[in-house]
Each structure stands twice: as C-alpha cells, then as structure tokens.
Symmetry: C2
Subunit: 202 residues, 2 copies
C-alpha cells in the first residue's frame, strides 16, 4: 500500500475554508483531518478533540520541547500547532491527511515534509472576505480590521504554496481540491516503482 498524501491547506481567516473542508470530507472517505492543538479559547460550538485540542500554554511548550509537534506558530498572542504522531500514523496507513494551518505553519511543514502538497484557499477579493467576516457575527469591528490586515499580509505568502483555490462557490472549490489531490497521486516523482510494476506484472 502506498503512503498517503500530506495536504497543507491555508487561507486567510474568513476565507470559507471550514465549509469547504466539511464538504470535502463528506465526499472523500480516504481523508483524515489533523486536529490542531491551540492555546486560544474555544469559540461557541467548538469541541475539544474535534475542532482543536484546547490546551494550556504550559502544556503546549512541553510538547514543543518533547519534539511532539510537526509545526507550530503563534497568531494573535496564541499558539497553534500540529501534533506529529497521528499524522504519521495515518500517512503510513495510506490515508491522505489534511493540515489546516496558518501561513507560518505552512512554511515549517514544507521544510520538514517537502513532499507535502500545499494549497492556499483565496477569497475572490478582499471585499468578499470582509463581508464574510462580518457575516459571521462573532467578531468585534476591531478584530475584523485586525484580521483583514493580517489577511492582506497572509495572501502575500501564496508564492510559497503549490496551488491556489479560489473560494467563489463551495462546490467549485471542492472539485478543484479533489482534482489537485487526484493529480498529485499521479505525479511520476511520487511513484518510483511504477516502471518496474508495469514491466514485471505477471
């Protein structure tokens, strides 16, 4: 069995990544979602172990020291990171693992796992992004402006990614991500034994 694909997905906050991923998982049984650890407080409806592992700053620091984090980053005074063990186990089982991470984390992953596939989900425009952030109704004006300013910076990091996906409609974005995953599984550089297998097949 071949190893799974490690898929990094980043997006400015409010980019609509959550809805896209929900639909993507509904349609693809071989996908697994890496659950991040974070020190930020849960938002309404977020569950420990499902959306995030909500842990203390002390616990997070200990994980870093133990080498148990694949990547980590700080964002608006909190830590976010990816516990290493479950990701490696799934990849070895042939599952494709999605890491939904900030751009700082995305860069770290490319360094430790250069064969990952990285996608940046973009809003069609900053205006659309702002409307989506306001539509949530969970943030103050101050936080929204801070996020928009952060988004403007984050979008500059597109150049460090392999692919962009425009989140205009959820359906189209999901189809695009599925196509990227399918294509990557056909890359010659990911399958060193294909010639042998074809030539020596009984």
């Amino acid at each position: 069995m071949s190893k799974g694909l490690l898929i990094v997905i980043s997006s400015p906050s409010g980019g609509g990544k959550g809805t896209i991923l929900k639909e993507l998982f509904k349609r693809n049984e071989n996908l697994r979602m890496s659950v991040s650890a974070t020190t930020r407080a849960p938002r309404p409806g977020e569950e420990h172990g499902v959306h995030y592992f909500f842990i203390s700053k002390e616990e997070f620091q200990k994980n870093i020291e133990d080498g148990a984090m694949l990547e980590y980053a700080s964002y608006i005074s909190n830590f976010y990171g990816t516990p290493k063990a479950p990701v490696e186990a799934w990849l070895n089982e042939g599952k494709d693992v999605i890491l939904e991470i900030e751009v700082q984390g995305g860069r770290q992953i490319k360094q430790v796992a250069p064969d990952c596939v990285s996608l940046f989900v973009l809003p069609p425009s900053l205006e659309v992004l702002e409307n989506r952030l306001r539509g949530r109704g969970t943030e103050t004006d101050e936080v929204i402006l801070k996020r928009l300013s952060a988004a403007r910076e984050e979008i500059q990091c597109v150049k460090d990614y392999d692919y962009t996906v425009i989140n205009d409609t959820v359906e189209q974005a999901v189809l695009d991500i599925e196509a990227i995953i399918t294509a990557e599984k056909h890359r010659v550089s990911r399958d060193k034994t294909i010639v042998e297998r074809i030539l020596n097949h009984a």
Copy 2:
C-alpha cells in the same frame, strides 16, 4: 484571458491512447488536438488533416529547415512531427492543446516549452498491451513483436514525464487526465498575478 495549457501525451503504441483522447475531447470543449505531420502511409480509416497530415519525406525535411516544426522524431523509418503555428495560435486563444507524441518528441517539447504538462499513458501491464495490439488485427506478428520491444524501451522514459495515467478503464483514465489539467491550471507557478488580482479587486 490566460494562455492555454500545452499538454504532451505519450504512450506505447497500443496503449489505448486513441480511445481515451476521443472520450476526453467529447467531454472538454476547450481542448484542441494538435494534428501531427508524418511521412508514414495512412492506415485504413485515417484521414489527411484529421488523424495526420500525410506528407512526403522531402516536404517534411523542408518544414524542419524552415523552423516550422515544434518537434520531430523518426520512428520505424518514418518522420513524425508537430507543426508549430496552429499550436501557438490556439494557446494564445486560451485553448488547451494536446500533443500526442512519441517519447523522443516529448523530450524535445520539454526543452522548447518547459511549462508544458507531460503525461505518460501506461497499460496496466505488458501482457495487456500485447493483447490490445493483437486485438487490433492490423499488424503482422513481426510488427507486434517490434512494437512490444519498443514499448519496453519507451516505458523507461516515464521518468522524463510529469504524470502517469494507467489505462485500465477508459472512464478512469479520462477522469485522471481531466484532474491533472484542472490541477495544473491552479498551480501558483502558472499565475504570477493572482495576489495582485485578489488584493486590488474592486
């Protein structure tokens, strides 16, 4: 309008590429098929200007000298090649152009057009390939053995290609090629202005 994608597709003879391409074109209106020039004789049912431009060796040589060929190669004592002008015109119109060429030609295209996408369509095994060649009923035993021997060599060239597609069923192979085309259109390296467009969109 963005430029079209130049897609190189190679396969051992008898790999079933013809059937796959027919289905691919039926389903994708933005595709154009580069019609190759060749000095070999037409097979039953092949039409000039549709399957190939059947031209003399003298005419082919003149095209090479005039710089009018994107690539050319010789195979079993005949010339095969790609006239340059129609390919360039289609790409500029935003059409995706498929070049169905031998591995020698595929290498040349990668040199003159490094941003092309190259696919190698593989039979599931050499045995399946042999059965398909015999099933055609158009070749002598001698030619079939020559083609199988050539196929064994050609398959070694997979390493020079970007993607492999296994022709197990036509439907699956077509879906895989469509996914590869879609994915490549989302590559960051193909769209230098995307960040500007998102940030400056009215």
